[in-house]
């Protein structure tokens, strides 16, 4: 059994087989060879896995992100943030980080943020004299915040896999996202102050007012999402649907920079992306069910508890495992594969699964830009046309900045859980 549910999936994964096929093959082999359960359970579980209203938020948020990624929304956001930042060392770098976080709060898509904000900011950073290596690192690393910031798709998937409340997870993600943003901004300011890189324009209330008016419609999406969910007006799924209509309506009817054809194109690419994700969600839930039926998570938990390791060392080991996995695999697949194994373990250790969801997301977020294979590295290389060696050298300090943030988030649960207490209780 361990061969079929452990060795076979790992082998097929390493050989580059599609993840849905890897999971489905392991389940089919386990059912046919070792278990005497009628095969219709395969169909029932796959169907049941996707037969969930919460999961609808995934295509809706992706659609919002796709629509927001077109047109001038990103530039309006950048102008708004830039007007608010004012004259501080590394002002443009701070604008980049904050714009990326704000874009993530609209779309929940990390790679889209790297591509969209990166395209808007790279020429400005270069013109302002920022070293190319620093800019490459900054633009590649900044998108990792979006994995934690609501409406993060990986957090939504974690909520489904771990059977945790999505609004609680989103509330828990706010402070860690702000912490990571603050750490990145602090590093940018320190670096620019040390290297004498120029400050931006002095703060002017009039300019901020003008930028706010120009960007007000672009800023509506996060207000709808946060205000709707935590104001008790919408469920996350409804907030995502309303955000979709808003994200289509603003560039279509107000800015008049998108046509109906563009909206339909976005819907088509969202549909395929949804298929890529939800097929894995369905197969991973089936795989998780097989693991649970065979009591594998319980056995793993029992074995690890038997080692009598202190909590901090177990969390450290889990962080190292997740960092490694994250640099080879996309966050959604990693969450779906590892949640059935890790969540029972951390629950047994007394870690709040909502807090663990945030730890999970931050690790996988770092994996997104971590050498050698973080996917945002390839996005920056492809979309921003940055040389790979420059990106690799540029991201090293940012990895350390994020690791500091990860350590705080891991060992100070209040950073994650305070948001839950404030917004939910």
């Amino acid at each position: 059994m361990s061969l079929v549910l452990g060795v076979l999936p790992v082998l097929l994964l390493l050989l580059g087989f599609p993840i849905f096929l890897v999971l489905l093959s392991a389940v089919v082999a386990a059912l046919l060879l070792f278990m005497h359960i009628p095969l219709p359970v395969l169909h029932q579980t796959l169907f049941g896995a996707v037969n969930a209203y919460t999961l609808l938020a995934i295509p809706f948020f992706i659609f919002t992100g796709e629509l927001m990624g077109r047109g001038s929304v990103a530039q309006r956001l950048v102008n708004f943030v830039n007007a608010g930042v004012g004259k501080i060392p590394g002002g443009l770098g701070v604008t980049t980080v904050c714009s990326s976080a704000l874009f993530g709060a609209m779309s929940g898509l990390s790679a889209a943020s790297v591509a969209t904000i990166g395209r808007a900011m790279l020429p400005a950073l270069t013109k302002a004299g920022y070293p190319m290596r620093f800019s490459a690192g900054l633009l590649t690393a900044m998108g990792a915040i979006d994995v934690v910031i609501p409406p993060s798709i990986p957090l939504l998937v974690y909520g489904t896999a771990a059977q945790e409340s999505v609004p609680r997870l989103y509330a828990a993600g706010i402070l860690p996202a702000l912490l990571l943003t603050a750490l990145l901004c602090s590093y940018v300011i320190w670096y620019c102050w040390r290297h004498g890189i120029g400050a931006g324009k002095a703060f002017a209330l009039g300019e901020l007012g003008r930028a706010t008016v120009r960007g007000a419609t672009a800023l509506g999406a996060p207000i709808i999402i946060f205000g709707g969910i935590y104001g008790g007006i919408f469920t996350p799924t409804e907030a995502a649907a309303v955000a979709c209509v808003y994200a289509a309506g603003v560039p279509l009817l107000i800015y008049r920079e998108l046509g109906w054809r563009d909206v339909f194109d976005c819907a088509q690419s969202t549909a395929i992306f949804t298929g890529q994700i939800l097929v894995i969600v369905a197969c991973a839930i089936l795989f998780g069910w097989i693991l649970t039926v065979n009591q594998i998570p319980a056995m793993l938990t029992q074995w690890l508890m038997g080692l009598h390791l202190p909590l901090w060392s177990l969390l450290l080991a889990i962080n190292i495992l997740l960092l490694l996995v994250g640099s080879f695999m996309d966050p959604i697949s990693a969450i779906l594969l590892l949640t059935p194994l890790l969540v029972p373990l951390v629950k047994a250790l007394g870690v709040d699964p909502v807090h663990f969801g945030i730890i999970f997301a931050v690790n996988l977020g770092i994996g997104l830009f971590h050498p050698p294979f973080g996917i945002n590295i390839f996005v920056a290389q492809t979309v921003l046309r940055l040389p790979l060696d420059m990106i690799y050298r540029g991201i090293v300090p940012f990895v350390f900045v994020y690791l500091v943030g990860l350590a705080i988030i891991t060992y100070v649960p209040a950073v994650s859980l305070a948001g839950v207490h404030w917004l939910i209780h």
Binding site: F17, H43, V50, T274, G275, D330
Partner: protein, 171 residues
Amino acid sequence: MGNLRPQLVLDAVATAFSRLLGAALIVAVLVNVINVISRYGFNHALTGADELQIYLMIGLAFLGGLVAHIRRRHLRMDVLTRHFPPRIVRLLASVEALLGIAVCGLMTWVSWTYTIRIFRLGSHSENAHIPMWMPHSVLAISFTLMTLVGLIRLFVRDEMPIAPPSEEATS
């Protein structure tokens, strides 16, 4: 030319399904928003709206998965295989097609059997009264076509490369 035709057919199938699913997504969004407006504006929720959206999403999941299968855009960990020599890559592609045929073929049989049983039972969803064989048949159709895609890939030389990582490849 003989090798080109199946690929063209697959492309046409993928394009047709992606248009259909794009439209389904827009319908799901509109139904959701109309339901919200109806609930808050007129104190009346649309009966069966949630069921309709969920079944549209099941279509997005499995038929979207089929489009990803045809276009070779399924998420995979290709860190190692990117460095393999072309001969090994071709061999692995054949093994992948074989495994896909075996697993999806079994799922085709299981899903059709289940769908036909649901059809004979005549069960409907609780609120929207949608015949339940319809959403269940999505899995059957998807696995049937995935099996066919595998057979075509196995017997026809397929030149479509595996999609490289892109900005939409991950969130």
